[in-house]
Symmetry: D2
Amino acid sequence: MTEKTIKVGIVGGTGYTGVELLRLLAQHPHCELRAITSRKEAGMPVAEMFPNLRGRVSLRFSEPAASGLDQCDVVFFATPNGVAMQEARVLVDAGVKVIDLAADFRIRDVAVWEQYYKMKHACPELVAEAVYALPEINRAEIKKARVIANPGCYPTAVQLGFLPLIEAGCVDVGHLIADAKSGVSGAGRKAETHILHAEAADNFKAYGVGTHRHQPEIAQGLVRAAGKPVGLVFVPHLTPMIRGIHATLYARLTDSAKASMTASGLQALYEKRYAGEAFVDVMPAGSHPETRSVRGANQCRIAVHQPQGGDTVVVLSVIDNLVKGAAGQAVQNMNILFGLAEDTGLTQVALLP
Amino acid sequence: MTEKTIKVGIVGGTGYTGVELLRLLAQHPHCELRAITSRKEAGMPVAEMFPNLRGRVSLRFSEPAASGLDQCDVVFFATPNGVAMQEARVLVDAGVKVIDLAADFRIRDVAVWEQYYKMKHACPELVAEAVYALPEINRAEIKKARVIANPGCYPTAVQLGFLPLIEAGCVDVGHLIADAKSGVSGAGRKAETHILHAEAADNFKAYGVGTHRHQPEIAQGLVRAAGKPVGLVFVPHLTPMIRGIHATLYARLTDSAKASMTASGLQALYEKRYAGEAFVDVMPAGSHPETRSVRGANQCRIAVHQPQGGDTVVVLSVIDNLVKGAAGQAVQNMNILFGLAEDTGLTQVALLP
Amino acid sequence: MTEKTIKVGIVGGTGYTGVELLRLLAQHPHCELRAITSRKEAGMPVAEMFPNLRGRVSLRFSEPAASGLDQCDVVFFATPNGVAMQEARVLVDAGVKVIDLAADFRIRDVAVWEQYYKMKHACPELVAEAVYALPEINRAEIKKARVIANPGCYPTAVQLGFLPLIEAGCVDVGHLIADAKSGVSGAGRKAETHILHAEAADNFKAYGVGTHRHQPEIAQGLVRAAGKPVGLVFVPHLTPMIRGIHATLYARLTDSAKASMTASGLQALYEKRYAGEAFVDVMPAGSHPETRSVRGANQCRIAVHQPQGGDTVVVLSVIDNLVKGAAGQAVQNMNILFGLAEDTGLTQVALLP
Amino acid sequence: MTEKTIKVGIVGGTGYTGVELLRLLAQHPHCELRAITSRKEAGMPVAEMFPNLRGRVSLRFSEPAASGLDQCDVVFFATPNGVAMQEARVLVDAGVKVIDLAADFRIRDVAVWEQYYKMKHACPELVAEAVYALPEINRAEIKKARVIANPGCYPTAVQLGFLPLIEAGCVDVGHLIADAKSGVSGAGRKAETHILHAEAADNFKAYGVGTHRHQPEIAQGLVRAAGKPVGLVFVPHLTPMIRGIHATLYARLTDSAKASMTASGLQALYEKRYAGEAFVDVMPAGSHPETRSVRGANQCRIAVHQPQGGDTVVVLSVIDNLVKGAAGQAVQNMNILFGLAEDTGLTQVALLP
């Protein structure tokens, strides 16, 4: 497969997932970037907007219509919610693989999607077909997909953290708590007051308690793993850093698990679950993963704790929201789709300090 | 009482609680700062170490022995743990009120204290006498105290957040969760690698899961409020900001409360509990308090949520760890001790942005 | 004068200079805040937008027309450039003192103003009358003014830093260099991409080299002090902090000064120039003032250096851009206008850490 | 050359230049990391101290004596100043190439070195032999060197910025000004109070005016380029970010240059000087390079300005202090030494945001 070159298009590359995709694809040995579209910035060299790409990406933003996306092997949508559902159909019909980094194809229940995203879904039949692509759960399905719903950032960190417990059936899935903290890039590259440096720096706050759009996405994944309804309280927070998500997860052991499960049993459960996974690192017992340990890397690091030997399990899960939480996972999914080694182009070491 | 001037001494003023005490006392209308001691820095003008005090504090650090602390009306200990317990006895016997900003007199069970603080307690009999001084619980006791144990920063934010629920008996006190986030000044002004700017900036991590010293302090306060044993999982995190604590608290409604309690009932419960409190602000329903809204101010802001109308109550509680979580609360306690209006010298408006 | 209460109005209080004015006025003993206007936010409680003001400012934003500004003693314009010039005339005619925190009345040469601010000036005759109000230069004029042009943030830091050298005639005024660094709040509370946290944090850049609007304002002030034309290279930079300006100034000693001037002579020159000034602090020889030493305080701290005893003088000057660089200086000017002690309501100690 | 593997040792890898070297070498296709020494941490897995290296570097810190450094092809010293001069001799005699990232071999005048570094030099004869290795000046010499003095971070940014002007002889070299700003990692991974997060965040200050150790290093390089004495005022500042240096340089055109040189002439001068350089990027006229555009990348980006068409040239030069200012440049020098393509292992794209 090494001789193959994948022809890649990107729709809407002016946001953070866009520039991050470009950073990764510029270092990917088997990709050829064919087009990156932006109606608003058509004609501007990409490297003028993102100077880190000077000398590495020579493309200009182009008009979608004139970009030859249907000649690509794969098209990434790094667009706001609601765009991919309008444009994916045509590409799929042309035999182009579609990877949507937004939320259009993530929620299988279209009514729930429409409630949370406050718009009518333009393409429910592709929702039914699309694969929610968290490789650590379902890489076999991903391999055959035509439409990839790339998971959200919080959902990636929270699901990877909870899965071993839920799959093992050892916790009360009716009362799961996910207390999650995100860097400000998670809010996107949008001109909004509340994410200005002078507002968000040296400040910490929760937001969207009880209303955040990632709640149903996470719940859907946990239900799938549990095989029954789950109760999830999800509280996201904004923390004054650029990149990174730290999810602190709380679950209570079932009565039967309480009798048998120990801290070392929990540790073994996690190590076994992720033994073959290149991008999930179960840290030694007693660890506290730091977000900077995955900065710029396609990696999730997890530690599991049982404070005071009690019945509450605490899981700490960190990712870079723009990499394993977005663009890196999208490239990982592309590698799976095209039969490449899963870590092709994804071997960057995290930047620390 | 307005004509009275309180003679104040500070032991160990080279840390962050020390400089913060100086900032507040320099603006207090009824205090006269008589001495600030530091063996290591004796002779150095305080304003040379802390240039924000130039023109406002003319004192030099002095040798403890030569500082006439026994001539003061009140002495604050802004020292590491283990100092006040050595020196308080003499001052108390000389009729000097003692306010300890460290942990020496906070835990009534000396064995627990010795286990968590890893030293032998030098003065258990003053522990028995000392008042754990969270004014919103026990200002009557504070008024009569000779030794004040000023609460810790996390314990202040967490207790003020949980108290209304626990006092009302409407939650399962056997399974309380406090997910708390602190700015880096909470670690003190110590030359340690992990709190360097290049380590702690743009990074987020949990620490001390299951082992933090504030766990027993918080638990003690919650037990007192509940009148029975409590189960508390406390997970502290380090967040890249200078000041501020954000506590996100989770409690499950009891079966009986579940039937009757609504979001507006919770809101009313909190508003009523803190109706007369100058320094606790219950925000409108649906709010998300920000740490910067209390930066530099002696204030706790609280919001209460019931996500999806479920049985888990989420409380958000913010303070400035150096003010309501340390020096400001110490001044508040001094005001109570000396019969001043509780907000004397504590009317600074938070610095935003 | 203590019994007098000044009736205050604010036009346009939704930006950072607005909230900072409110913070200071809420602590001012002789002010009564009568109205704060915002067309866009009319009806919203001020404390809802700025939660640090909860419990301290009970006013709502109001429609300008219905706000009774002409009944005030003084009206502050905390508006974008181009507003005060439209509305000041009416107020002045009604006997109301006007203090403009924007740039409308700062540049005496209207043609230069129009070139840099890219609009036609609506009220040139008030420009002629207005007083450029840097109290350390011209408090006598300020006392009698009807229209106050409150200086810009960079111009305050740079002028206070250069003045002693220029007034003493000891440097080559044809080749002055001001390398200035500002926190991000200096760009205002505007929804613009480049000042997002994820763009401006952990980043440093120059901007507006050769084109910044504060260049002519600074030059005008230096010309006035020098009594002859000056050459000024002004390079502003954006530094990842919320508040603070640090100006690093370079000037070359004239040949005659070179022969006589020493480092201690420079130190004496600065100390003498600012001997009576409450808000300018000349630090000891060899000092490096930090922006945090003035965070939240109406203070300028200055140090003067002569590296390697050479002919280049280096001056370091720091202010909080929102206080001595904007709202604090505006209150200082109000105090002068109304015959109050100049530091009334301006005795806050800087917040450190 | 692709079949060759370079055997690499690192002395003292517990600081920031150490972990950065490891990050780069872990991604270098022709290196085999043989040993990394630390007396203090011997036995600890490197990835335990630096969790970003988990799964990528399996080595443990080892005792220097038992590390077989003399069997390596090249040994990097990522040590404090004063170590390499003690240990380089033996390695050089064993035929091992030495690359010192500290300052031991940078200053050819040993007396000056001893004055600034406050210690006696242990190995003056290697100073005479060592090559000060800024590849953009002297890669031919580097190729033949046995001892490489890897330039300092400020000196790299400042020299690359000034060189075209000085080599062209168009500025007054008697009066050069370098106003430089560094992220906090430049101070190293040392437990010192002034670089704590709570001290250095949200703060800006100059330091070491007139006394910084990089002054003579920079001056030495500029003298070499000018062929005559130079006058340099160097003012370093600490800016609240982790990585990055921004040097703002000021030079006055000579009278003859003033007559002929224009902004576009300056632009052409820079573009020509660095035309063949992979790691120096001359940005388009009017640009303002940002430090984040080189974060994690071995790159220097430069822009040149002539404000108001006057006689002062302003050059803006940015690097990542840990990459082009330290570890990246060291790897670049290693590549030159061993005949590899100069960008081998150095093609990382900067992390933005």
